[in-house]
């Protein structure tokens, strides 16, 4: 007879910013079912937004997420600009270039952050240290342009709040030039390493069908061969004027998701370089005073996928309804199929592979029988994952690393 064990993971973890709670049902080592419980970090932002005026809401939604902290304000201002007639006709070209640069810089630092965490989860702490080391200059550039490492406060309805200074452009270019060899190194270190391949291939697979049914978005969907990217499908900023590619992989496993994100780093660098070369001089703000009644939808390709904002205005200076749907909302739900069928030592990396604002493994209780409860901390679960990698390394190299 099979013996079902419940392994709760969560809800708090200091590594990432959003608490979620996963309850894994395991038989032996195999995960047979999963319950996902969220809401620990629900701050009522949609309700709060109804009490702020349109200018303040950009600051409010910036605080939804500290990592993709320009995606939410960007989607929000696009929604308001949808009511006003559209970004392309409203916002000065220079402002749209600046928006695109910020959006892509953010993608670079977010993907590097994920790469580091993924490395840590499977026991490649060198990848973790290096990814975060190379993320620092990106944050320095943010500080240089916006004054902040996160929560940039750049977006406003009708334009951007700060200009990029001419003397900063060579420094940005220099940062990108220095980042490129680092991305080359990561590409080699991850894609050519037999242990990483063995560890991540075939793990946490999402099929194309599952991606469609669970309405998964972003790199998680693109790793399963679903060709969607808001930047191309409904271009905002200046993406339609630039030369870049949507990265698609077919396998849908953790390895494919890693590859998509690493290759997207190249595209982001390429996009920013073009922006810095082409950026025209001119105004950066259309100076919008009033928002007429109506409804608008704005969406951007956040580092994790489509970020969706819906605004309903009744002509006052506050939104009547503001619906926010972050990409992780769809992606985290898909863990219901992604993690089931795998082993418990793969659960950490599988749950992390959708790059959720994932924040879970702080306390773990392994329950064998109701009266026999063993409490482990989150580190134990990561250790389990790291041990598996170490076993594989020993098998490959015949010695302990």
């Amino acid at each position: 007879m099979s013996h079902k064990v419940i392994v709760p993971i969560g809800p708090y973890h200091p590594l990432q910013e959003e608490p979620e709670f996963f309850q894994l049902y395991v038989e032996g080592e195999k995960v047979v079912d999963i319950d996902i419980i969220i809401g620990y970090n629900h701050r009522g932002i949609e309700k709060l937004s109804e009490s702020k005026h349109f200018d303040q809401v950009a600051f409010l939604v910036e605080r939804i997420c500290g990592i993709c902290s320009s995606s939410h304000p960007y989607a929000y201002v696009l929604a308001v600009e949808d009511i006003l007639g559209g970004e392309a006709s409203l916002v000065p070209e220079r402002a749209r270039y600046i928006r695109t640069i910020i959006d892509e810089l953010q993608r670079i630092h977010s993907h590097l952050l994920w790469l580091g965490l993924a490395g840590h989860f499977i026991g490649y702490n060198t990848v973790w240290m290096w990814a975060w080391k190379y993320r620092e200059p990106v944050l320095d550039c943010f500080e240089m342009i916006t004054g902040n490492r996160n929560n940039y406060a750049m977006l406003k309805v009708g334009g951007v709040r700060r200009d990029i200074k001419e003397e900063d452009i060579p420094l940005l270019k220099k940062m990108l030039d220095e980042l490129l060899p680092a991305v080359d190194m990561f590409k080699g270190a991850v894609m050519d390493d037999p242990v990483i391949q063995a560890r991540l291939k075939g793990i946490g697979v999402l099929t194309k069908r599952q991606v469609v049914d669970w309405c998964v978005v972003g790199p998680t969907a693109r790793a399963s061969g679903v060709n969607i990217d808001v930047r191309r499908d409904e271009p905002y900023g200046v993406y339609s004027q630039l030369d870049w590619n949507v990265i698609i992989e077919k396998d849908g496993d953790v390895f494919a998701k890693t590859v998509v994100r690493i290759l997207e780093l190249y595209e982001s660098i390429h996009i920013i370089r073009q922006c810095l070369d082409k950026i025209p001089k001119g105004e950066i703000d259309a100076d919008i005073k009033e928002v007429p009644p109506g409804e608008g939808i704005g969406r951007v390709e956040a580092p994790r996928g489509e970020c969706f904002h819906y605004i309903k205005s009744d002509g006052t200076n506050r939104p009547l309804r503001h619906k926010i749907r972050a990409p992780s909302y769809m992606n985290v739900a898909s863990n219901k199929v992604g993690a089931v069928g795998g082993t418990i030592s793969d659960a950490t990396i599988t749950l992390a592979a959708v790059d959720p604002c994932y924040c879970c493994t702080e306390r773990v209780a392994v329950i064998n029988k109701p009266e026999n409860k063993k409490i482990m901390n989150g580190w134990d679960l990561i250790k389990l994952s790291q041990e598996k990698t170490r076993d594989m390394q020993e098998r490959y190299y015949g010695r302990s690393k």
Binding site: G39, H42, K47, D82, V212, Y310, M330
Partner: protein, 144 residues
């Protein structure tokens, strides 16, 4: 025949109102009984992706908008339905059609108190377990 014409042809008289307020934004108003069929047409037959749903409480009742994204053209087709019953608002769940609708329906259920008939797992998503029953934070008359 492009999707816009197919939708117009298949749903025909069921479309109460057709709005295109800006480029790539299409809003269709339907009776709430027809929402399931329309969602099935868009999601299953025409290959739309479900983005999310947004529900609003007004003095006239509840408005739910299902946002479907057609990624080939970058258009968003939003199906709008009204539920006039303020006491026991109810609508068919889309979750049996595709699991991607499960979470958002749970959220609308707990935030606005709209019952989704046929939902496989209608329980709280975001609100705490000790949040009082029949207290819906996104309703207009909610006292915070």
């Amino acid at each position: 025949m492009d999707v816009k014409e197919q939708i117009k042809e298949k749903l025909a008289a069921k479309i109460l109102e057709w709005q295109e307020p800006s480029a790539k934004r299409i809003y269709l108003t339907l009776n709430k009984e027809d929402a399931f069929e329309a969602a099935k047409l868009l999601f299953k037959d025409l290959g739309f992706r479900f983005s999310t749903a947004s529900a609003t409480h007004t003095s006239l009742g509840f408005e739910i908008i299902y946002h479907f994204s057609f990624d080939k053209t970058g258009e968003i087709y939003s199906i709008r339905v009204f539920i006039e019953d303020q006491k026991h608002p109810e609508i068919d769940s889309l979750a049996p059609l595709f699991p991607g609708a499960e979470w958002i329906e749970r959220e609308i259920w707990e935030m606005l108190g709209i019952n989704f008939k046929g939902h496989p797992n209608l329980k709280r998503l975001l609100l705490a377990d000790d949040w009082p029953q029949d207290n819906y934070p996104l309703r207009q008359n909610h006292e915070s």
